[in-house]
């Protein structure tokens, strides 16, 4: 225990506190991107490609430029003088094909929705009028839609200059896979189809950019998860020093990975602001966001699992194809998803051998990227489905199968078969906790009784390992400038309150509240006395922002150390003023006290003295009531978390509709800083996973035309169809840090679709139906499986 406060009743760490910011948001006083306006601002609208693949023969903007209210109509030719093109390069993915990408189309288009021209006008409506007046002639080229067809010899090429649609190929193998399968008593195999879906933040992407020519300064407000990263790339692309670029993210209406990339349209807006010298605002409308936000998780995977006669898992073997769309997203690359989908295969279990291969292919579709729980839900569904199939083949309880095969390194550490280093796990404890949370024996009895009565019910489980709080090795060794470290700046104001600034980002998860709680305990002040600012590159330190569930594990640690540093400074100053050894003093609830807990001086009085009456200090003491702490974990590429989920579903035998009746999650994310907010992270994540399992699908036809233009077509999960979600926690501290916190933000999404997939298959099996290995589980698919009697007997 690093400190007497941890776990005590005074402690803020571990307390359920609602977010302070929620008061303003509840009153409608949030400040989201579109709420911000600047004098002289103009509004952007894009002409976007209506076709998946074409060569542009003619792009005539003169009529559009004469349209009422239009200030400018820009094409790539206009932007090129002030803006670089880019390629997504990463040494982490040797051989990654990296076609050039431009903010506006450079002579051809490679997906529906790709921005071609940019209209700037007095209002968005007027800008849209002008977009309709742009004359565009194109020659349509054959397009690649279906990922599994992209590598066929006669497949059209998305980027002809590359000579192939192969973007990258993943392959890893450990142990003797062939021997394992040869010796297996049971082998199960399945072909999995995962359809594209997307993040659908309720607040769409948006950006407001202003350029001050006299200072060469670009000032940007963006609805973004990592303003610091955006600052860096805008500087690079527009050839400005980072000190000339300021990015602010105020309230952000959801991120989930959608808002962590450098999008062509957003770069175009910044370039246009620079060119015009007047502020430009762009807020994606829902059509634009559905077609141009990153999509994710389009995989087809053939996988098999070998099990010995005692029911021990021997080996997993998977071969997949992933469609990433027209480009690998900048700057992190879409292949991060491949990597995680392959590397986390089989992760909860001890396997002697494993093989994973994936072809990552370009298609004439929207780019894919890092959506919440990147890649993990794919691996989890494949693994957990195969484990269930093996248990069924052996005629045993799927939980007994899991219990027997869990990989638990205990106090040590080890590698999963596909190379993840794992430690501090608690699979068995989570499973025990889940059984208790569900009241499993009674629940099973009730399921059996209801089945007797004719209901088609299924209970499904999915164990998981989620890699969180990625360390600096991952992108650092890849040569990609992504901050995996975070910094907190902290200072005492003259009234004794604290001014804090963090390099992390707040999107609603509650990182802000968690950091304040940590700071409060670390320094010894009430949380209400801390003012924390995030999301501003102009005043905040450079750092990671919001990705890979890092708020508590990295941000929390930075806050702890910053707070302890400041506390040391405060006590040193007090010691000097009071002529007492610092070791005899303590800081509790904003008061400096002695060993008997008698108040010696308040922090407010001390701060006032430091700021306004410094002469009272003894000669030669210059108290420093401000600190910064840059925290980078030195060990462990990522911190594994683990847990298990369960889903109870009901299938309608007449319609194939799947109803989620209840869902359970037990998660171990190490020390929980705020149980209230951590629980809600899990619930929100679960519903995204259920959405993927049952509803969400970015549909394209075989020619790569986009079919889900509106939110009436793209089905998001709504309140009426979602179940209540019981959440339990096991707290196995991460031993590599002071607080022991791990990531909590993505675990809900990680295993939810797998649990639902298993539950649906459990229900199907109970009535002798067919198997399903495709998400979303649409009603026609489910009904067909219900009526499929080929497995009955």
């Amino acid at each position: 225990m690093p400190d007497r406060l941890l776990g005590s009743t005074e402690a803020q760490i571990g307390a359920s506190r609602p977010r302070a910011r929620s008061r303003a948001l509840l009153a409608g006083r949030g400040r989201y991107l579109d709420d911000i306006n600047l004098p002289r601002q103009v509004h952007a609208a894009f002409l976007r490609s209506p076709v998946p693949a074409a060569v542009i023969d003619r792009l005539e903007v003169s009529a559009a430029a004469r349209s009422p209210g239009v200030v400018a109509v820009l094409t790539w030719a206009d932007l090129a003088p002030v803006c670089q093109a880019w390629r997504t390069l990463s040494a982490a993915f040797p051989g990654l094909a990296a076609p050039e990408q431009t903010p506006l189309a450079n002579g051809r288009v490679t997906s529906v929705g790709e921005p071609i021209a940019l209209v700037l006008a007095a209002s968005r409506a007027l800008a849209e009028d002008a977009v309709a007046a742009i004359e565009l002639d194109w020659r349509e080229r054959p397009a690649v839609g279906v990922a599994t067809a992209a590598l066929a010899a006669d497949a059209p090429l998305v980027h002809p200059e590359l000579g192939s649609n192969l973007a990258w190929r993943f392959a890893a193998e450990t142990g003797d896979v062939a021997a394992a399968f040869a010796s297996a008593a049971t082998v199960v195999e399945e072909r999995f189809v995962f359809s594209r879906h997307t993040g659908v933040t309720l607040e769409p992407r948006g950006i407001l950019a202003a350029f001050e020519p006299s200072e060469g300064r670009l000032e940007v407000w963006a609805s973004h998860q990592m303003p610091h990263q955006l600052q860096l790339h805008l500087g690079e692309l527009l050839e400005l020093a980072m000190s000339q670029v300021r990015v602010t993210a105020s309230d952000v209406g959801g991120g989930f990975g959608v808002k962590m990339h450098v999008y062509p349209d957003e770069v175009a807006v910044c370039a246009a602001a620079r060119l015009l010298g007047r502020p430009v605002k762009f807020v994606a409308d829902r059509l634009e966001s559905l077609m141009s936000d990153i999509h994710a998780r389009e995989h087809v995977i053939e996988a098999r699992l070998a099990v010995d006669a005692e029911g021990r898992l021997l080996a997993i073997d998977a071969k997949g194809v992933q469609g990433i769309g027209s480009h690998s997203v900048f700057p992190r690359s879409s292949t991060v998803e491949t990597l995680m989908a392959m590397r986390t295969l089989g992760a909860p279990y001890g396997l002697a051998a494993a093989r994973a291969q994936a072809d990552v292919v370009f298609q004439n579709k929207a780019m894919t990227g890092q959506y919440r729980s990147v890649g993990h839900p794919i691996a989890c569904a494949v693994t957990e489905r195969l484990v269930d199939m093996a248990a069924r083949a052996r005629g045993e309880d799927p939980l007994a199968m899991r219990r027997r095969n869990y990989l638990e390194p205990g106090d040590g550490r080890c590698r999963t078969a596909l190379g993840l280093e794992v430690f501090d796990l608690s699979h068995v404890a989570c499973l025990d906790r889940l059984e208790a949370l569900m009241g499993l024996p009674a629940l099973r009895q009730s399921v059996a009784a209801r089945r007797q009565a004719g209901e088609v019910l299924g209970l499904g489980f999915a164990a998981f390992v989620e890699m969180t709080a990625t360390g600096s090795e991952v992108y650092g060794m890849a040569g990609v400038p992504v901050a995996a470290a975070d910094t907190i700046q902290l200072a005492v104001e003259p009234d004794g309150s604290l001014k804090a600034s963090a390099s992390l980002s707040e999107l609603g998860q509650g990182t802000d509240e968690g950091l304040v709680q940590v700071l409060a305990d670390a320094v010894g002040v009430a949380p209400e006395r801390i003012g924390l600012e995030m999301g501003r590159t102009a005043s905040g330190p450079h750092g990671g922002g919001a990705w890979a569930s890092r708020g508590a594990a990295i941000g929390g640690e930075a806050a702890w150390h910053a707070g302890r540093k400041l506390r040391g400074q405060i006590l040193a100053a007090a010691a000097a003023l009071l002529q007492t050894p610092a070791a005899a003093l303590d800081l509790v609830a904003g008061c400096i006290v002695d060993a008997q807990r008698h108040e010696r001086i308040t922090l407010a009085a001390l701060a006032r003295t430091v700021h306004f009456a410094g002469h009272e200090f003894p000669q030669g003491t210059l108290p420093q009531l401000q600190v910064a702490h840059h925290y980078r974990r030195e060990a462990d590429i990522a911190i594994p978390t683990n847990g298990i989920q369960a889903a109870l579903v009901q299938l309608c035998p007449e319609t194939g509709l799947v109803r989620c009746l209840q869902h359970w999650v037990v998660h171990d994310c190490g020390r929980i800083i705020n149980p209230l907010l951590a629980g809600e992270q899990v619930r929100g994540g679960v519903v995204q996973g259920i959405g993927a399992a049952l509803f969400e699908h970015c549909r394209y036809d075989a020619q790569a035309n986009f079919l889900d233009g509106s939110l009436a077509d793209y089905l998001v999960p709504m309140a009426m169809e979602m179940p209540d979600i019981a959440v339990g926690h096991v707290e196995t501290l991460y031993r590599g840090s002071t607080l022991g916190a791990k990531g909590a933000g993505e675990a809900g999404t990680c295993a939810a679709s797998a649990a639902v997939l298993n539950a649906v298959n459990d229900a199907l099996a109970a009535v002798g139906g067919g198997r399903l290995a495709e998400i979303p589980l649409t009603p026609p698919l489910v009904l067909a499986a219900l009526n499929d009697r080929s497995n009955a007997g």
Partner: protein, 161 residues
């Protein structure tokens, strides 16, 4: 830069949150766009502009409507209430407190619409069942919370803990 000189406009007079307002608006402007950009009432949000997400929910003559599916011109002579007005009047204070306590919001983008929708339910059914609450908010999308906390908060505010 004003777009008014470039648009077909008309004059409208109504009350917004109890205050009389007269304005010249482009006739094609939606009610929510006018409230947000014409009057600076940015508490009503825009998530889809085609009636599906409920982020733009406001009240017209005392009933919830989609702010994106009415023209500003259509409230001529009517009474509009937004989250700002409902907050100022104190009529949603119990719901707001319950949402906060239960962490029934994360990013907060859906929240004003959720609160106004829930308030309408509680006004007609003070102690709704959980299923009824889910049905009442079934037209309001929330990507962050997974809905359960919202259902809990509405139940708590309705005294149905």
């Amino acid at each position: 830069m004003s777009d008014l000189g470039l648009e077909t406009t008309a004059t409208l007079a109504c009350t917004v949150n109890g205050e009389p307002v007269r304005a010249i608006v482009p006739v094609r402007q939606s009610l929510v766009d006018w409230l947000r950009h014409g009057l600076g009432l940015t508490g009503s949000h825009v998530g889809c502009e085609h009636g599906v997400c409920g982020a733009c929910t406001i009240l017209v003559d005392g009933r919830t409507v989609r702010g994106c599916l009415m023209l500003a011109m259509q409230v001529d002579g009517l009474a509009v209430e937004t989250i700002e007005g409902a907050t100022a009047s104190g009529r949603v204070v119990a719901l707001q407190a319950a949402f906060r306590e239960r962490a029934a919001l994360q990013c907060g983008f859906c929240t004003p619409g959720m609160v106004l929708t829930a308030a309408e339910l509680l006004a007609s059914e003070p102690r709704p069942s959980r299923a009824r609450i889910r049905e009442a908010i079934s037209g309001n999308y929330c990507r962050c919370t997974g809905y359960q906390a919202i259902v809990d908060a509405v139940a708590a505010a309705g005294g149905n803990d």
